[in-house]
Symmetry: C2
Subunit: 570 residues, 2 copies
């Protein structure tokens, strides 16, 4: 492509509202523009990156035996009413009415549609298993779209759905998808981890893994073992219970009341009483299916609401407001404690290890000290109710502890089971001639979000550093002066020769200063740059690798050979 | 691809509600399914056809120098308010509100968005001209979705937009696009015509052409000259005026009243009075911008509302209801005539050639006969207000007459001018350093609709006959008995060898009867079939061309060679 008439608007200034480096570079390098929050229009350079990622995803999906389809974006509401997700999905689901006032969903995902497709079109176990996928535009009305393509409202996703006659077959496809995803993200040159995760609104009964690209700006925290390959999303991460830490309750003195006026938070307690947060026993009040329940845990720990909800078997869970706390406990927020509390209490197991703790006294402006679980309050309902923390023992091996990373979720695979086939009545005739619900898996990749992930892991202060596999063009050929005939002749010669060999080349044929051209070149970050300058007359050009900054003078022929070596296999 | 686990549900029965052959075959050959009216989900076979069409379109667009982008599907309403199309587009525009109650359009087309893009990103004449295109999902809420992908509500379109500093440059790109479209539709193997057309809701001041695929089920009528290359959509078609037909008014007897009780239509008049329709002078009443106007034309002619609207310079035009006719003329519908009529009258020029006509007498149950234009009613405002008819003189050459065809509109190109850049304030600095509105063109192709057009022109009673260029697979390899090891060995050998050469092959490895396999094969209509049957032991297979039905026994090697010859260049 020739750059002169190309729609490639680079920006020198840092766009406001772009909080993270990949978002700034997305805009500065002229990859995309936004006309409404979270809705991007791809410019030529950005679209080429999107297509290259799509291509790698398709190649690996096809290799796995999956078949590509393309579902309609608009889906009739009836399908979503049947599974209950019309209501469950919440305000993130985009909806519309057609001219006849019929309700439609702008598909955030396609379980309902593909399950209905299988129900209508596949009758026999003989046609199973199969795995269908699509690369398509999806919609999710994020409350706060941000971080470029990381949290967009209109985005490209690869979603796949597999159908099986047995759980064994599902497991095989699940493992194959795990392997396929590993191949895809490896080809994209990403530093990533597959981690155990929660199934969220997709649901499902079996295994599920998220594929996380490690990045400081990631919106997820992942816990990784220092020793084995255990890795889990924080919401799902477990810790091995160090029972050795349980306190010898008989040695503790009796609890006593302390006057703690206006001391309501753990931080204030720690400061004013000069104690460690891990000796504070804090109490939170939740409404589980509308009923109040107190959750007791160590002052330095956080409730894991997912674990708590499962522990309680509750359909809905929300933190009580200050007013609700006072109404149900009779105690103002900040002074609630487990001793003598009148509402049901559940206790995180680490509280059992606090030998003499500080806890709310259930009376305004008072706390107790020397509180001991089991002695001073009942411990009938104890479980793992907290988030894992750095240094927790690995739940899977004897030697490791957990460390934390931030991650961008780029893929998610699920063993769904029969959740959707049951609710939509999607059955096939099994080997015994009986109707049986399809056993399903589903497998997503955030395609457009991968652009953000790749940039986040590949940039420097000058701009993007594209990996060869997804670079919009592989080579940037820059004649320094376009009015110099010798320079243009040499540049055109290399440009045409490389293009004939199928190399993606961008030729900067703009009549701009060398400074502008090099700055733009660094910013858009193609892997290789060939500069045709003063030594063009001798047939000498400068060959630069963007990643290393390594530059050398070579003959045009050498430049060609080096490039062909670098692009081989991409 | 192996057919056994493929999602390729063929149907023996003819689906109800599928009115035309291409729609029936779309469903019967397992190309696509519909979950709501006019919204298709592509199954693997159909998606391959879509992708092949897209590929040809992209190749030719890229060759023309156009750059691919991808606009967001959701567009903020503000853009459409600015151009006025939020209101003008009518109920065909799909709209929605986000969670913050902001209005969005599900893009039916992208003039507003790309013009805004150019406004923001392109400042100088140095960057002009450029042409950007996208292949994307579009939405249009058709009142009556039907005919498969011909009139869908969610569909794939290629839309391109060019930006220029001069009308000369626009003209050059317009001509290039005309040539590019001709290449595309030729490569698709279609019988098509570029025809002059009206600009519709897109608007624009310059030339515009529709590309029409000739088909009996086409929703458009096109007029084509028998002698020269003149072709136009009926709404736009003109006829050379045969002034020789003007009647010698002085010879006609004076008009007189006839009692014609309950005779209200042209057909009734022709029958009861035993006259020819071309001697009847009919009068229609329209409301032009709300004002009544009578249109007088020959009984065998139809009003062309587009011509009429332009003639009147009216912003809106609609036929008056019976009640409105009676209110504004004082005459019941069916008896209105030009003689003594009190509302403004416009006259189609062919009425001047009626020597002694029959017309309404402006009195219930009466007509006049021997009415002569100019003598009996004023002819101040005369023009070409009617649709062309078969046999009309060609407006472009001296020798031809017009004949009619039905056509499917698959492409439309426009010289827009500054309609959108003016209303959106999209300017650049020209060579004189002055702000000037971009001069624009736009160019559409109905990608998914082309599937319907191709099938409509390529089928027989057994099924589809895919042209090689867009066939989902090029070759169908059918081992008659999959349990026969020799047959499967030979079939697999050919299958693998062809795939290695990049040929798209479908292997029917289903354990089904020969009858079922052949019926399905004819139905899905791949260009070449290789049947591996009883003579597999001798290395002999049957080679069949779907289009001709020609079948011959050849060696496996010969079959391979024949195929490689047929697929060359595709």
């Amino acid at each position: 492509m020739r750059q002169n008439k190309m729609l490639l608007p680079t920006l020198r200034e840092v766009p406001k509202d772009a909080e993270i480096v990949s978002h700034r570079l997305l805009l500065r390098a002229g990859l995309a523009r936004m006309f409404a929050a979270g809705m991007y229009t791809y410019l030529p350079l950005g679209l080429r990156v999107l297509r290259k990622i799509e291509h790698i995803v398709r190649e690996e999906m096809d290799k796995s035996g999956a078949q590509e389809i393309l579902g309609s974006i608009l889906q009739p509401a009836e399908l979503w009413h049947t599974t209950g997700r019309w209501d469950d999905y919440g305000p993130e689901m985009m909806k519309m009415k057609d001219r006849h006032d019929r309700d439609f969903v702008l598909g955030p995902t396609h379980e309902e549609l593909v399950t209905t497709l299988a129900k209508q079109e596949v009758n026999s176990y003989k046609r199973l298993p199969f795995n269908i996928y699509q690369v398509a535009t999806k919609f999710r009305d994020e409350r706060r779209p941000r971080f470029g393509m990381l949290r967009a409202r209109e985005f490209t996703m690869k979603d796949a759905y597999s159908f099986h006659a047995s759980y064994e077959s599902l497991g095989e496809t699940y493992d194959l998808m795990h392997k396929t995803y590993t191949s895809i993200f490896t080809r994209l040159g990403l530093n990533f981890r597959p981690v155990q995760a929660d199934a969220g609104t997709i649901g499902g009964s079996g295994r599920n893994h998220e594929f996380m690209v490690l990045a400081d700006i990631g919106e997820d925290t992942i816990a990784v073992c220092t020793h084995c390959d255990y890795a889990a999303n924080l919401e799902k991460a477990e810790a091995r219970y160090a029972a050795a830490g349980v306190a010898p309750t008989e040695d503790a003195p009796a609890y006593e009341k302390l006057h703690t006026p206006e001391i309501k938070t753990i931080d204030q307690l720690v400061e004013s009483l000069n104690v460690e947060a891990n000796t504070v026993i804090k109490t939170l009040v939740y409404l589980a299916d509308g009923e109040a329940v107190a959750v007791v845990l160590r002052g330095d720990h956080e409730v894991n609401e997912l674990k708590l909800q499962k522990f309680l078997g509750a359909r809905t869970l929300e933190l009580a407001s200050h007013a609700e706390i006072e109404r149900v406990t009779g105690v103002p927020s900040g002074f609630v404690g487990p001793v003598g509390l009148k509402i049901p209490v559940v206790i995180d197991r680490d509280v059992l290890g606090v030998s003499a703790g500080v806890a709310g006294a259930n009376e305004r402006d008072y706390h107790f000290q020397n509180v001991v679980a089991g002695r001073d309050f009942q411990t009938e309902r104890v479980g793992d109710l907290r988030n894992a923390v750095v240094g927790d023992l690995c739940p899977h091996c004897e030697e490791g502890t957990l460390e934390f990373y931030r991650g961008i979720e780029v893929g998610h695979i699920f063993e769904l089971g029969t959740k959707y086939s049951d609710s939509l009545g999607a059955t096939f005739l099994n080997q015994d001639g009986k109707a049986q619900s399809f056993i399903m898996g589903c497998y997503g990749i955030g395609i457009s979000r991968l652009i953000t992930a790749v940039i986040e892991q590949n940039n420097d202060e000058k701009g993007i550093i594209w990996p060869m596999a997804v670079a919009p063009y592989q080579v940037h050929v820059i004649p320094v002066k376009v009015k110099d005939e010798e320079q243009m002749r040499l540049a055109e010669q290399l440009y045409n020769r490389l293009r004939e060999q199928g190399v993606d080349v961008l030729l900067d044929d703009r009549d701009e200063s060398a400074g502008v051209k090099f700055k733009d070149s660094d910013l858009i970050g193609l892997p290789v740059r060939v500069t045709v300058g003063k030594k063009a007359g001798e047939g000498i050009v400068e060959f630069t690798v963007r990643k290393t900054g390594e530059a050398k003078e070579v003959s045009l022929e050498q430049a060609y050979e080096e490039i062909m070596g670098l692009v081989a296999g991409h």
